[in-house]
C-alpha cells in the first residue's frame, strides 16, 4: 500500500514503546480506509485510560469524555446524527469496570455502534492495578494476595444480551483485527470486539508470548449464529484462546425502532411555531 491512509495522524503518541495500542490503532485506520470512509464521516468516542487516548491519534471526529461513560456519549451522538459512523475505543477498566452498567444497557439497546475494547487485563494509566478481566492469582500493589475475585467475561455477557456481533482478537495480528473491525462496523446493531492487548509496562503475566502461545483463529466450520456453541467458545480461556467472530445476531437495532434510514438526522430538524401553538391549545 503506497497511499497514505486518510485517517493516519502523524503527531506524537503518548503510549509506551511496544504497547498493544499501536496495533489496534493501525487496525482501526485500515478498517476505516478499507470501508472507504472519509474522516469527517466518522466519530471516535472514548472514556479515560491509555486506550481512550486513541481518538486523539487518528484523523476523525472525536469525543474524549469521562472514565466509564464512553458508551452513553456514543449513544447520544449516534441518535443525534445517525449518518455518523460511531466507534468506541476504550480499555477494559473503562468499559467493563467503571462503565459496566452502560455496557449492559448499550447492548440491550442494540445501538448501531462498534465497540473496540483494548483488553490488557490491567490498569495501565493508574500504573498496574487489577482490572475486571485480570486473571485469578495476579498479584498487584492493590491485590497483594493475588486477585481472588473472578474475572468478568465480556463475551459471555454480550452473548447473553444478544449483541449483534461479538468477536475477539489479538492486537499483534493487525490484518485479522482489521478484518474483524470491518465486519463489526458492517454489522447493523451493537458490535463488540474485545482485543487482547499486552501491557508492556505493567502486565508481566499476559505478555506477547503468553497470548501468542494461546490464541488460535476460529475456522469456517464454526457457526457464530449458534448461541450455545458461542457460549462454549466464549468460556474457552487457558491453554487455548479462540479469536474470531464468536457470535452474531440479527435482531432489530435501536435506530430501526426510532428512525427511518431516510429521515433527517435530529441535528437538522426544526420545530415550528404552529406545533407549539397546538401544544398550548391543548391546555384550554
Amino acid at each position: 500500500m503506497t497511499k497514505v491512509n486518510d485517517f493516519h495522524y502523524s503527531g506524537e503518541r503518548a503510549w509506551c514503546p511496544g504497547c498493544g495500542d499501536y496495533g489496534i490503532l493501525s487496525s482501526v485506520e485500515n478498517a476505516l480506509a478499507n470501508l472507504k470512509k472519509k474522516p469527517h464521516e466518522v466519530l471516535m468516542v472514548s472514556g479515560i485510560g491509555q486506550a481512550a487516548k486513541l481518538p486523539h491519534y487518528i484523523k476523525a471526529n472525536g469525543f474524549d469524555g469521562l472514565h466509564g461513560r464512553a458508551l452513553p456519549a456514543a449513544f447520544g451522538a449516534k441518535v443525534a446524527n445517525h449518518k455518523l459512523m460511531v466507534l468506541v475505543t476504550s480499555g477494559d477498566g473503562d468499559i467493563y469496570g467503571e462503565g459496566g452498567n452502560h455496557f449492559i444497557h448499550a447492548i440491550r439497546r442494540n445501538i448501531d455502534i462498534t465497540l473496540i475494547v483494548h483488553n490488557n487485563q490491567i490498569y495501565g494509566l493508574t500504573k498496574g492495578q487489577a482490572s475486571p478481566t485480570s486473571d485469578l492469582g495476579m498479584v498487584t500493589k492493590t491485590q497483594p494476595d493475588g486477585v481472588f475475585t473472578i474475572p468478568f467475561n465480556p463475551l459471555e455477557m454480550a452473548i447473553t444480551l444478544d449483541a449483534a456481533f461479538v468477536a475477539r482478537s489479538f492486537s499483534k495480528d493487525i490484518a485479522f483485527t482489521t478484518k474483524l473491525i470491518e465486519e463489526g462496523i458492517r454489522t447493523p446493531g451493537f458490535s463488540l470486539i474485545d482485543v487482547l492487548q499486552p501491557c508492556v509496562s505493567f502486565n508481566h503475566v499476559n505478555t506477547y508470548k503468553w497470548y501468542g502461545d494461546r490464541v488460535y483463529q476460529l475456522d469456517n466450520s464454526y457457526d457464530p449464529a449458534d448461541k450455545s456453541k458461542a457460549y462454549q467458545k466464549s468460556s474457552e480461556w487457558g491453554d487455548k484462546i479462540p479469536i474470531g467472530v464468536i457470535y452474531k445476531n440479527s435482531r432489530k437495532t435501536y435506530l430501526d425502532n426510532v428512525i427511518k434510514p431516510r429521515d433527517l438526522p435530529l441535528i437538522k430538524r426544526e420545530t415550528s411555531i404552529k406545533g407549539i401553538e397546538s401544544l398550548i391549545n391543548e391546555l384550554y
Partner: protein, 570 residues
C-alpha cells in the same frame, strides 16, 4: 362580588382524586375562573392520605391556602384530617355509605350515597364521576358541560364506560340538586372566558420543545418525571428522541454526546439523580457542550420526602461539578415564567456552550394555574451554530475568542473533523500538559461570564418603590410572597418584594440598587440553611434580616409567612 374559595378533595391514593380535580378544574378554567391547584400526595400508589386543593377566585391567584370552604372526603381519614381547616360557612361532601361526619355549627353536610349511585350506573369505578356531578350541582355549574367533558375526555374508552360515567355524573348531580338545593356556597360568578390550565411540568416541557430540544434522556425520579413524560409523549410528532437511561450518569452523558454532535439536549432529574450527574456536568463545563438540566427539587438529604417540595439544591447547583466553569441557573416562579425561561435556557445553553440549570421544585411542577395565554413568539428559538458553508478552516473547536465563545459546528459539518475533549486541551481539542494552555483555556471559558451577565432578566420588583421592608423570593416561593405583599399592603404596611428567576450569574449591581437602604430585607425560602439569603449577602455585601424559612416539605402560604414574619419582628 370578589371571592376566594378553596376546595379540598381528599382521600387515599387510587381513589381517583386527580380525576375529580381534573374534571372540575378544566371546566372552571373554561368558564373564566382563576385557579391555583396544588397537590399533596404520599409516595405510594395505593392508600395513605392525599389531597388536592383547588383555589378558585375572580382574580388571579398564585399560591395555595390552607383553609378550605368545601371538602370532598372520599374516606373517613379525610374528614378527621381536614375538619379543623374548614372555615365557615363550609361544606363537607362525603359518601354517606361509608363515612360519618359529626354535625357542627357553620358546617353544611352533603351526604350522598356515592358508592350506591356509582354501582347503579354499572360499576363502582364510576364513583369519581358521581362526585363530579355532586360538585357541579353545588357550584351551580352546568351538567351539560360535565357530560360534554366526559364524552371527550373518555373518548378512548368503550361506549359502555362513557355511558356509565355520564349516568353516574348525572345521578350525582340530580341527587344533590334534589336533596341539597339550599346549600350555600360563597363561590361567585365570573365573566365567561376560556382560560388555559397549566402546571409547571407542562410549561417546562413545552418551553423545552419550543426551545428546540431534540434529545432528552432521564431516569424517572419524582418530582421531575412529569416533564420527561410530557416530552416523550410528544417526541414522535416533534421529531425528538427520548431515552430512558439506565441511570442518571448515563442520562447526562447521553445528552452530552448528543449535544456535542449538534442536537439540543436536555435532562430532567431531582436532587439524588442530580448528584449522580455531577461528573457529567463538569464534563459539559470542560468540553463546553450545551445542555439543559431541569432539576426539580424535593426535600433531602438522600431519599428525603420523595413527593414533597423544597429548595435545598441551590448550593448544589451553584457548585455541582468539580473544577471551575461558568453556568446559568434559573429558578422560575410560576408556570408562566417557567415556559419562557425554558425556551431561554435552550437558547442560552447553545449560545454560550455551558450547562444551564432550570431549578424548580415539586410545588412548581405539580401546581396548576390558569392563564389567558402563552405567547410562543415572545421568546423564539434561535440557532447559535455556525451556518453550513460559513465554517472557517482550519476549524478550531475551542478557538480562543474575545467573547470566550468559540464557533460551534457539528461533527462533519463542511467536511471538517474536530475533537471534543475533557482534559486541559489546545484550541483544536487535543490533550495538553502546558501551563500557558491551561491558563488561557480557563480564562477563555470565564470570559463568557461577561456576556452571560447581560442575558435574560434580573430581579423583578413588585410593590411600592420606597417600601421599608423588602421580601425576597426565588423560584416557586414567588406566589406566596406576592400574595403576602398584597395582604400587607392592604394593612397599610410599607412592603414590597423582589423575585429572582435568574440566579447565576448573580445580578449583583441590580440587586444592590434594589436592596440598599431598606429597613428590613426578608428572604423567603424552602430550606433550613437559608441558602439564597447567604448567597444574596455574599454577592451584595448587604445585610439581611431574619429569613422566613420552611423545611417541612410543604409549600409556603400567606398565613405561614405572616406568622413567621410577625413572630420575628417582635
Amino acid at each position: 362580588m370578589p371571592f376566594d374559595f378553596n376546595i379540598t378533595i381528599a382521600g387515599s391514593a387510587g381513589q381517583g382524586l386527580q380525576t375529580i380535580a381534573g374534571i372540575l378544574t378544566k371546566v372552571l378554567a373554561g368558564n373564566g375562573y382563576h385557579l391555583f391547584t396544588s397537590q399533596d400526595y404520599m409516595s405510594r400508589i395505593r392508600g395513605g392520605h392525599n389531597f388536592t386543593n383547588i383555589r378558585v377566585s375572580d382574580k388571579p391567584v398564585y399560591s395555595p391556602t390552607v383553609t378550605s370552604q368545601l371538602l370532598v372526603a372520599l374516606d373517613q381519614e379525610s374528614v378527621e384530617v381536614h375538619y379543623q381547616s374548614l372555615t365557615g360557612p363550609a361544606i363537607i361532601v362525603h359518601d354517606s355509605d361509608t363515612i360519618t361526619v359529626k354535625k357542627a355549627r357553620n358546617i353544611q353536610i352533603v351526604a350522598v350515597p356515592l358508592t350506591k349511585l356509582s354501582n347503579e350506573s354499572g360499576s363502582p369505578v364510576y364513583i369519581n364521576s358521581v362526585a363530579a356531578g355532586v360538585l357541579f350541582s353545588l357550584l351551580r355549574l352546568d351538567l351539560k358541560e360535565l357530560v360534554g367533558f366526559l364524552e371527550t375526555r373518555f373518548a378512548e374508552k368503550s361506549p359502555e364506560q362513557i355511558k356509565g360515567n355520564i349516568n353516574a355524573a348525572t345521578k350525582g348531580f340530580t341527587y344533590t340538586s334534589e336533596n341539597y338545593q339550599n346549600i350555600k356556597t360563597t363561590i361567585g360568578t365570573v365573566r365567561k372566558k376560556n382560560r388555559m390550565l397549566i402546571n409547571g411540568a407542562e410549561s417546562i416541557a413545552i418551553g423545552m420543545i419550543a426551545g428546540g430540544v431534540r434529545f432528552i434522556s432521564a431516569y424517572p425520579m419524582s418530582p421531575s418525571t412529569g416533564i420527561f413524560i410530557y416530552i416523550t409523549g410528544k417526541a414522535r410528532k416533534f421529531g425528538i428522541i427520548s431515552e430512558q437511561a439506565e441511570d442518571e450518569i448515563a442520562a447526562c452523558n447521553m445528552a452530552l454526546g448528543a449535544g456535542a454532535a449538534g442536537a439540543r439536549s436536555a435532562v430532567t432529574t431531582s436532587g439524588g439523580g442530580l448528584s449522580l450527574m455531577c461528573e457529567g456536568i463538569s464534563l459539559a463545563g470542560a468540553a463546553e457542550i450545551p445542555v439543559v438540566i431541569a432539576n426539580m427539587q424535593r426535600p433531602g438529604p438522600a431519599t428525603g420526602f420523595p413527593t414533597r417540595t423544597a429548595q435545598e439544591d441551590l448550593d448544589l447547583v451553584l457548585n455541582i461539578g468539580h473544577g471551575e466553569f461558568p453556568r446559568f441557573i434559573f429558578a422560575p416562579g410560576t408556570a408562566e415564567e417557567a415556559f419562557y425561561t425554558s425556551i431561554h435556557a435552550m437558547n442560552l445553553a447553545e449560545k454560550y456552550q455551558v450547562p444551564v440549570f432550570i431549578l424548580g421544585d415539586q410545588h412548581l411542577v405539580d401546581s396548576s394555574i390558569t392563564l389567558d395565554k402563552l405567547n410562543p413568539n415572545r421568546v423564539k428559538y434561535k440557532s447559535y451554530m455556525v451556518k453550513s458553508g460559513n465554517l472557517k478552516k482550519p476549524y478550531l473547536r475551542y478557538k480562543n475568542t474575545k467573547s470566550g465563545v468559540s464557533p460551534l459546528a457539528y461533527y462533519g459539518q463542511d467536511k471538517v473533523t474536530f475533537i471534543v475533549d475533557s482534559h486541559v486541551h489546545t484550541e483544536d481539542g487535543h490533550i495538553s500538559e502546558d501551563m500557558v494552555v491551561a491558563e488561557k483555556l480557563t480564562e477563555k471559558r470565564f470570559r463568557k461570564i461577561n456576556g452571560m451577565k447581560k442575558e435574560f432578566y434580573g430581579p423583578q420588583y413588585y410593590g411600592p418603590q420606597n417600601a421599608e421592608t423588602l421580601f425576597v423570593s426565588w423560584g416557586s416561593t414567588y406566589g406566596a410572597v406576592r400574595e403576602t405583599i398584597d395582604y400587607l399592603l392592604e394593612k397599610k404596611k410599607s412592603v414590597a418584594m423582589i423575585h429572582y428567576n435568574k440566579i447565576w450569574p448573580f445580578p449583583v449591581e441590580e440587586s444592590i440598587r434594589l436592596l440598599k437602604s431598606r429597613k428590613d430585607i426578608r428572604v423567603v425560602e424552602n430550606n433550613y440553611q437559608a441558602q439564597f439569603n447567604r448567597l444574596l449577602k455574599r454577592e451584595t455585601g448587604i445585610d439581611t434580616g431574619e429569613p422566613v424559612l420552611r423545611y417541612d416539605g410543604r409549600p409556603f402560604d400567606v398565613q405561614y409567612i405572616i406568622e413567621k414574619f410577625e413572630k420575628r419582628q417582635k
